[in-house]
């Protein structure tokens, strides 16, 4: 039995009117959420690209949390001052190759850079969690203002179609529970100035969290992410961007606990030499215990020491090479 046509028509007409009014109200919310992003966003990397004051940079920093610490407080401004170059730090906590690739492509869609300083963390090569899964984390886009260029990039990949949809309709931005809070991580806000006192159990928990029990098992996608990394280097070349890869300082006791770091370094160096990319391994320099605010992240004194004694020289010689 088919329903009475008039009742259905009336219902559908009313439902349509309800949806239309709802859409208009939603647009209002959308605009309000964009306004709040521009008011409160600070560290969100997509926001930083969208509002970057310069079209051209000397160095763009990519990587995960170890690179993010180089941008805490006024560290990036100090590095710019030390090196006399324009630097934009686009590293994201917990970000592997896939996320950094998106970040770089988004940046290059509207800006230029001479170099990319890629701060490599081996853990990011061992799991989807830091790559495809991380890319689908709506929190990455909580404070990302709407930009058609980013929407296009997200729509391009099958893995990020849902994220793209969410980004375009703005649901996560409107739903962001931290909408009124300052856009600064807890680490930067409260821990960056501290010094960590090593506790073996916490060290073990940290490495256990970052690395799989067997780093060379068939289920570990290291080879795939190394290939993606090489592809990223090729992409950089095609856009006239020079890469330099560095490994950040980490405490010696943590370094010893990382499984398979030797074989990872060997594989990485092979790729870098194939692509003609410079590599600076700072893992075991400037890594005094007093330079870390937790198990493995540089604190303020550690970052300044790293800038002064190691990174400044690398960036200046890069700049000289470029000129």
């Amino acid at each position: 039995m088919f329903p009475e046509a008039t009742e259905v028509t009336t219902f559908l007409r009313r439902a349509m009117a309800f949806v239309l009014v709802g859409l208009m109200l939603y647009l209002g919310l959308y605009a309000a959420s964009e306004y709040l992003i521009y008011k409160h966003a600070r560290r969100n990397r997509f926001y930083m690209v969208k509002t970057a004051p310069s079209a051209r940079y000397d160095h763009v920093v990519l990587g995960a949390s170890h690179a993010a610490a180089l941008d805490f407080e006024d560290m990036n401004a100090r590095l710019e001052q030390m090196t006399g170059s324009r630097i934009l730090n686009l590293s994201i906590v917990g970000a592997g190759i896939t996320v950094n690739r998106l970040m770089l492509e988004y940046f290059l869609a509207g800006h230029q850079t001479t170099d990319v300083v890629y701060v490599v963390d081996s853990f990011a090569f061992y799991s989807r969690e830091w790559n495809e899964d991380r890319l689908q984390d709506a929190r990455l886009f909580y404070r990302a203002p709407f930009d058609p260029a980013l929407a296009r990039l997200l729509l391009r990949s099958q893995a990020t179609r849902l994220v793209a949809l969410d980004y375009i309709v703005g649901f996560s931005r409107i739903n962001n529970p931290d909408r009124f809070k300052p856009d600064v991580s807890e680490e930067e806000a409260t821990r960056f100035g501290r010094t960590y006192r090593p506790i073996r159990q916490i060290d073990q928990q940290r490495t256990g969290y970052l690395y799989p029990a067997k780093v060379d098992g068939p289920a570990v996608p290291r080879g795939r992410y190394l290939a993606e990394f090489e592809d990223l280097l090729r992409y950089g070349k095609s856009r006239n961007v020079r890469f330099v890869v560095i490994k950040p300082p980490i405490p010696q006791r943590i370094y010893r606990m990382i499984p398979g770091e030797g074989s990872f370094d060997a594989a990485l160096k092979e790729i870098l030499s194939r692509q003609g990319v410079g590599f600076h391994d700072f893992s075991l320099v400037g890594n005094d215990e007093r330079f870390f605010y937790d198990t493995d992240h540089l604190n303020r004194a550690g970052v300044l020491n790293f800038f002064e004694h190691y990174l400044k020289g690398t960036l200046t010689s890069l700049a000289r090479g470029a000129s």
């Binding site: 088919f2 009742e7 009336t10 219902f11 009014v21 709802g22 919310l29 649901f171 409107i174």
Partner: protein, 483 residues
């Protein structure tokens, strides 16, 4: 597939549109297919178990109906009930009983420590407690002659598996459900709107209130020894509302979704925290479909209200202990059930004394019921500590710590209520209570329907946009789905 997820909302929209586009005689096929898809999509690997139990109940119902021999009918009923509840036992309780038995034997005979009962490590099938109870009630009704056996296998399977009620009830009875399947459902804008209203309100309770309270409760109860007394007390109050909003939210979405499809399910909640006695809480307001099930299929067969006070007390305790165990294979649930049973037994035994006291101390009617309501709420609150705690030791430690600081609790809690998140949570509980208070005297949605269109729409938009702006969309499972 959870009710509080976008895939469900899309699934339901497509289903509802298709439902009204096809003729009535084919709709059961669509609903059954959709229900099985919903079950399979709910991370449940137990579709075959659901179908197996359905088939056992269906065939047993037919056999009971076909036989005139009382002994044979009883034997079939017993066998079918054992098969159905046996599945429930194996999947839900076996590990718990094996563990308890092992511990008991090890205490009595330490040399047996190496002997352990095998543990298959089965995962509880989603909705098993609910649909096995539906099957048992059907079999009991057919056996008692209250219901003819259902001959249409598809209709019967739909009764068991109907997706809105499959995972967490309401525990629907066969007669009203099956008779509705016979009636052609014509499109009714008013019925659909009314179903959508309920779904919206249910989602609001779940996504905006319950899931907002959940992290605070989880944090306090995860390691109660590390939580402050104020946090434990506040978390216990919050848990009362989290559980209510979670479960009644689920029921509202289930009843609303069924209503959109032209099927009425039974009411499951009636503003339980407005109860003025524990008896009223259980018999008229909280999880009504389960209470009615235990009343009809356990309490009355045990003798019900007939017999001595001792017998009555035994019946009540037995029902509540089993009801506790039904909720979960853990001693905390058994104690929770026992405590509720104890409340009712004490209330029964002190009925005369309380009447005398009430006659002597004449309070104004409003104040009296308000005080009784507060007392009832706090008695229930004590039981929720056992319901929520991970172990009996945790529950008793929480109660001991909170009761030791009872005198200073109001001050401690006031001092704790500082963050915007807690204030927002309290405000949302306030909104819930206002709506429920209005509902007490006249159904809230009836009041809404009597208002002009723009007022109604303003309310719908307010609820919808609070889902979008304030909702927690982390796909948190409904609490009662674990039972």
């Amino acid at each position: 597939m959870l009710f509080n997820s976008f895939p469900f909302l899309a699934f339901f929209a497509v289903l509802a549109a298709s439902y009204y586009a096809i003729p009535h005689r084919h709709r059961w096929i669509l609903l059954l297919g959709a229900s099985l898809y919903f079950y399979a999509a709910s991370k449940s690997n137990y579709v075959l178990l659901l179908l197996g139990i359905t088939l056992v109940a269906y065939l047993a119902g037919l056999s009971i109906g076909a036989s005139a021999d009382r002994r044979k009918r009883t034997a079939i009923l017993a066998a079918a009930v054992v098969a159905v509840l046996g599945a429930l036992f194996v999947f839900k309780y076996y590990d718990f009983f094996a563990g308890s038995l092992d511990a008991l034997i090890a205490d009595v005979w330490p040399a047996s420590a190496r002997l352990r009962l095998p543990r298959p490590g089965l995962v509880v099938a989603a909705g098993l407690s609910f649909y096995t109870f539906s099957c048992v009630s059907y079999l009991a009704d057919v056996y008692a002659g209250r219901l003819p056996p259902e001959r249409h296998l598809g209709h019967f399977a739909l009764y068991v598996a109907f997706f809105p009620k499959l995972l967490a009830g309401p525990i629907e009875r066969a007669r009203p459900f099956l008779s509705q399947l016979q009636q052609p459902v014509s499109f009714s804008g008013a019925a659909i709107a009314s179903g959508l209203q309920l779904m919206l309100w249910g989602l609001f309770k779940k996504v905006v209130i319950a899931d907002r309270l959940a992290p605070f409760v989880d944090a306090a109860y995860r390691q109660p020894e590390l939580s402050s007394v104020a946090d434990l007390a506040l978390a216990t109050y919050f848990f009362a509302f989290q559980l209510y909003c979670d479960f009644s939210g689920y029921s509202d979405i289930a009843i609303g979704a069924a209503k959109v499809l032209g099927i009425d399910l039974i009411e499951n909640f009636r503003r339980p925290y407005f109860s003025t006695s524990v008896r009223e809480f259980w018999s008229q307001r909280w999880h009504l479909s389960l209470t009615a099930w235990f009343r009809d299929y356990m309490y009355i067969p045990l003798g019900g209200n007939q017999g001595s006070q001792l017998r009555l007390s035994f019946n009540l305790m037995a029902v509540f202990l089993v009801s506790g165990l039904w909720h979960g294979a853990n001693w905390t649930f058994v104690v929770w059930g026992g405590l509720n049973g104890l409340y009712l037994v004490v209330s029964l035994m002190t009925r005369r004394a309380r009447k005398k006291v009430a006659g002597l101390v004449r309070l104004p009617a409003g104040l009296g019921s308000c005080l009784r309501g507060l007392l009832t709420f706090h008695l229930v609150l004590v039981t929720w500590v056992f319901f929520r705690a991970a172990s009996l030791a945790d529950a008793t430690a929480i109660l001991a710590r909170v009761s030791r600081s009872a005198a200073s609790l109001p001050r401690l809690i006031r001092a704790r209520v500082t963050s915007g998140e807690i204030l927002l949570s309290l405000a949302l509980i306030g909104v819930l209570l206002v709506v429920e208070a209005l509902d007490e005297t006249r159904p809230f949605w009836e009041r809404v329907r009597a208002r002009p269109l723009f007022v109604r729409w303003a309310l719908y938009y307010a609820l919808l946009f609070s889902l979008i702006v304030l909702g927690t969309w982390k796909l948190q499972q409904f609490v009662y789905m674990q039972f």
